[in-house]
Structures are given as structure tokens and as C-alpha cells.
Amino acid sequence: MNYLERRVIHGVLLLAGVSVLCFAFGVMAPGDFFDEMKLNPQISPATVAALRSQYGIDQPLPLRYGRWVESVLRGEWGYSFAYNCPVRSLLMVRAGNTLLLTTLATLLAWLIALPLGVWTANRRGRWDDRLGLAGTTLLLSVPELVIALVLLYLAVRTHALPAGGMVSVGFGGLGKQAQLIDLASHLVIPAATLVLASLPLLVRHIRASVLEVLQAPFVQAARAHGIGGARLLFRYVLPAAANPLSSLLGLSIGGLLSGSLLVEVITGWPGMGPLLLEASLARDVHVVIGAVMASTFFMIAGSMVADVLLVVLDPRVRLGST
């Protein structure tokens, strides 16, 4: 069995384990979706009981888990009590929205962080490195909640950008190009928040990785052979720094579905965040489990991408170090 097959099997087992735990905790938590109805004097206890048995909530835990697995295998991923539809169709739309936002933000964050990290590492201890360090420290200490609120405040004050939502009212009536512009303008605030929030950590990790390679004996040896400038950076330093950075990229990918939940709720982006929040509050158990499983899947996929990248980039991993 080769390395990749082992990793895939490992990932599937992990998913199964997470599903059991998630299901157990979700179901064992006190209260269920229909508890709120009991407070309504117009709904008789008999109706509530009938609804509970209709949805199978009165069944014992293993049986419910079995039925859930069955529905997963059918491709429905359980049933949402609140939306009265299979979880899958619900999740697909929301996950798509989240991925649009987070993929864009992650891509942007890396595109900004990579040159910034490499630059500050090369300018270690100089004024621009210190400025970068101060900037990342400042950003690191500001919670993303505050960043989002400040951006929203600015948007509301200046009316330059829509504050919340994904598209404007009457989106359907717009032309293709206008639709794209509308969508992009709605993306700015949540995406900017995510970029600003993830930037400092990325920059610091990249700077540290590059710095470590810059101090490696083989970089000094290359300099001693008269290799310098861009050639040294691109041929010697960056390929060697790619090893730790591909793990970091795996983490970035792993967070694609779960890293933006709070920001989505604050900025009103109709992604997984608001859905998960509503579902948790309403005890819409299958939706919660579905969302958690989806983000677990991304975590596992992210680390797998990182592993594959490592194999591709590092001959020591690929060929086995002696």
C-alpha cells in the first residue's frame, strides 16, 4: 500500500470517527428542534409527539445514527427540520458561497503575504522589516470581529460599498457584467476582513521560514560561489522554504470552509456561517452535523494536498532520506 492510499484510508476513518462523535454530542445535548413548540399553547402535546415520531427523534441513538448513515449513503446527508428539505441541497448552496469568499480571500492573502514575508526576511532588522513586524503585530492583536465592524462602519458612512448580503435587490434583472460587478462589490468587505485577519500569521510564518533558509549553510555556500540576487532567492532560498510553507498552505486550505464562519455572520454573507449558527440555535441537528462534516472533510483534504505538495517539492521526502 503506498503513501497516498494510506493517507486516503486514514482520512476516511477520521471522517467516520468525527461523524460518530458529532452525532452523539449533537443528539445528546438537551432539547431538540420541537421543544420550542411545546411553549406554544396552540399546539397540543400530542401534535408535538406525533411530529417527533415522524422525524424519528424519539428513536434510540444508535438507530438514529444508522438512519443518518443510510441517508448519507443515499446522498441526502440527513434532513433539515427547519428547511424541510435534505441537508445536502442546503449545504451545497451555502458551501458554494463560502468557498467563493474564502478561496478568493485565501488566494489574495497568499499573494500579498508571500512577497511581503520574503521581502521582510531579506531585510531583516532594517526599518522596513521592523515596520512589517509592527504592522503584523498590530493586525494580529485586532480580532477579525473588530476589523469587520470597522470596515462595515466605513462602508455605511461612505456609501461606497454595500454593507451585507451577497447580491443587491433586483440582481436577477441585471446584465451579466453588472451582475459580476454587483457580486464583487458585495465581496469586498468580507474578503478584506478575512485577508487582513489571516495576513499577519501568514507573513510571519513565511518570514520565519525564509529567514531560516537564508541562514542555512548552503545559502552561504551559494553566495561564496558568486551566486546572488534573484537567482539565489528563486533557485536556492524559495525551493528550500517551500517545505514548511506547503504545510502552511494545507492549513489554509483546511480552513476554507470553517475559517470564515464568524465573518460571514457579521457581514451577512449567506455562507456556512449563518446557516450553522441558525441550525445550532434551532437544534436542527442534521444541518449542524453536515456542516461540521464538510469542514472536517476540507481539513483532511487540506493536509492531504500539503502532503502531496511535499512529495512533489522535496526530494528528501520523495526519495527517502538515508
Partner: protein, 345 residues
């Protein structure tokens, strides 16, 4: 202050440095590492030496003697925190006035270096052959096909037979001896006039050490490139180097032809080092439980800053004057110099 005036006096009175003037001349070379604005103890203190074209010069000293700083300053690779003064003239040009791009033209092309740990001095994620090709690429405008042929030729020159396998290998796939040869081939690629080798045999076992020394000697004869061989082991220099420079606490304490210095060392430090040299003869009569000889004491920062002779605290022959004054350099015979008040004892 005292040491500086004492030193410049010696510089004027001492005899002309041995070795024909030529390739590399260092005068009053001083290097200080500043830490957080405060200057720390100097790593090199007014070093004078000459390297003639094609000769092999051994630099002998223990850790902290400044020999590695010397190597790095010859290649302009000192960290930015280092202050360097004096002059370092290579083929008539003062290297210390060079900017980074001028240095880049010298490094690898005219002055090359072989590092201590060949395994660490090669990039782990790049094929060995490409790394040698990179050296050529940095200094010559040639097509990549031509460059590949040159790399294969230089690999053959350093005695590697399986050229194809080595060319495609990564550093972790090669043995210590192969790595050292690859490192040497990188240094040799552009036919430099001077190779600085910093303990290149340290990571090799005895047999490989001997092979490496033979190879260095052979390349020195074949290409006529001068060699500065830095080591802490005097045993490697006997029968290998032409001249030896003995360093202690950032200064040259003794210099001369290897055969004469080793037969009759003048400085107490050189004497101590040579007595420590483990030879099979010495051990033949030794019984178990006897300790190996050691040079008492260690080199400390105080020794660097002492107004007197920096070896005084460890010297068995020290006198009153050794504590207060640095011994001026004298030339007891042609081609030799020593910094000691009591070298005749």
C-alpha cells in the same frame, strides 16, 4: 590602546612577510563583531600575510582563534554586524572596497571556498549537477548543453567516476567522500586563482582525509591555484602545506615553512599544539589509564582584550613582561616570524 600601539610598532620593525608578493596581501586586517551597537572583542587583530600564486598555506588554530573569520573576510561573507579594517589586496585591488556586485564577480570565479560540512553546503532540494552548473552560470555566458559537459568534466577531475549518477543525485544520496569531492568541484568549476578550504576534511574518516588531501594537492599542482587550508589539526599540514600560519586569539603568532616550523617550533603555543599531535609512536608505549596530553587552560574573551600576550595565561614560559605588553613580531630566520618574548628558550 596599548595593544594597538604595540602592534603597529611591530608592523614597522618586522621583516618582509615571506612568500613572493602577489596574489593576496592582507595588511592590518582587523575584524570586530558589533553586538547591539557595542563593539565586542575583535575576532581578527591586525593580521598581515601574503599568499603567493600556487602555494598551499595552512592556517592552524583552535576554535576562537579567528581562522574562520579570516576565511569569511577573504570571501567578503562576514555578517553585516562585522566591522572590518585594514586592507586585503587581491591582484592589486583592495577587496575591502568592493561592493556586493563586485564581490559576486570575484567569489566562485577568482576566489572559491570549500566548506566544513559538504552535506550542509549543498542545497537539499536541488540536484548536485545543477548546483555545480549554477556556479558556472553565475560567471560565464554559455549554453546549458556546454555547461553540462563542463560539469561532467569537472566531476571527473575531482576523481568521481560515476559522473552520471552523481550529476542526477541529491545531496542526501551521496556519501561523505563524494560530497566533499562535489564541494571541491564546485570550487574548481571556474578555475579560481585561490581556494579557501575551511576544515574540509573534518567530517571524513582517516582514509578519506588522506584521499582528500592528495586530491587537493593534485588539483593545486594541476591548475596552479593557491590554497588556504584552515585546520585545527597540525597533522594534516605535515607533508601537505608549503607554509603554516599559526593563529591565536585573532593574531598570527607564528609563521614559516611547514617543515621548519614543525621541526623547531618557536612560539610556546605552536610547541603545545605539536606536542598534542597524536602519533602512533607516542601511543605505542602508552599504557591504559594514562591521559592524553592537553594544552592547559582555554581561550577566553579576556585573552583577546588583555594588554599583554594573549597566550600568557596558558603559557608555561611566561615572564613579567608577557602580562603587560604584546610581544612584537620578530624574524629569527629568513622566511619565519614569531610573536613571543621568549621564543629562544
Amino acid at each position: 590602546m596599548r595593544t594597538v600601539s604595540g602592534y603597529s610598532e611591530s608592523a614597522t620593525t618586522r621583516a618582509q612577510s615571506p612568500g613572493a608578493p602577489g596574489l593576496l596581501c592582507a595588511r592590518e586586517l582587523t575584524v570586530c563583531y558589533a553586538s547591539r551597537g557595542e563593539p565586542s572583542s575583535p575576532a581578527l587583530l591586525g593580521i598581515d600575510f601574503d599568499i603567493a600564486p600556487g602555494e598551499i598555506v595552512g592556517v592552524l588554530g583552535e576554535s576562537g582563534s579567528g581562522k574562520s573569520t579570516l576565511a569569511l573576510s577573504i570571501l567578503g561573507l562576514l555578517p553585516e554586524s562585522a566591522d572590518i579594517a585594514g586592507s586585503l589586496v587581491f591582484e592589486g585591488k583592495d577587496l575591502l572596497r568592493f561592493d556586493e556586485s563586485a564581490w559576486r564577480g570575484i567569489r566562485g570565479a577568482r576566489i572559491a571556498m570549500v566548506f566544513q560540512e559538504p552535506g550542509l553546503s549543498l542545497s537539499p532540494v536541488m540536484r548536485v549537477g545543477s548546483q555545480i552548473a549554477e556556479v558556472l552560470r553565475a560567471h560565464r555566458q554559455e549554453g546549458s548543453n556546454h555547461r553540462k559537459l563542463q560539469v561532467e568534466a569537472v566531476l571527473a577531475e575531482v576523481g568521481l567516476t560515476q559522473v552520471d549518477r552523481i550529476y542526477k543525485a541529491y545531496s542526501h544520496q551521496l556519501s561523505g567522500g563524494e560530497l566533499q569531492r562535489v564541494a571541491l568541484s564546485q570550487a574548481l568549476a571556474c578555475r579560481p586563482d585561490l581556494i579557501v578550504a575551511d576544515e574540509p576534511t573534518r567530517s571524513l574518516d582517516g582514509t578519506r582525509q588522506k584521499e582528500m588531501l592528495d586530491l587537493l594537492r593534485e588539483t593545486n599542482r594541476k591548475f596552479g591555484c593557491a590554497l588556504i587550508f584552515i585546520t585545527h589539526n597540525p597533522g594534516l599540514l605535515a607533508g601537505f602545506a608549503d607554509r603554516v600560519i599559526v593563529m591565536y586569539a585573532g593574531r598570527i603568532v607564528e609563521e614559516g615553512p611547514v617543515s621548519r616550523v614543525f621541526r623547531r617550533p618557536l612560539h610556546p603555543y605552536t610547541k603545545g599544539l605539536l606536542q598534542l599531535m597524536p602519533t602512533s609512536l607516542q601511543y605505542a608505549g602508552r599504557t591504559r589509564g594514562q591521559h592524553l596530553p592537553v594544552l592547559p587552560g582555554t581561550l577566553t574573551d579576556d585573552d583577546h582584550l588583555s594588554p599583554g600576550c594573549s597566550f600568557a595565561s596558558r603559557c608555561s614560559a611566561r615572564t613579567q613582561v608577557c602580562q603587560t605588553e604584546f610581544p612584537a613580531e620578530v624574524a629569527p630566520e629568513k622566511g619565519r616570524r614569531v610573536s613571543c618574548f621568549n621564543y629562544e628558550n
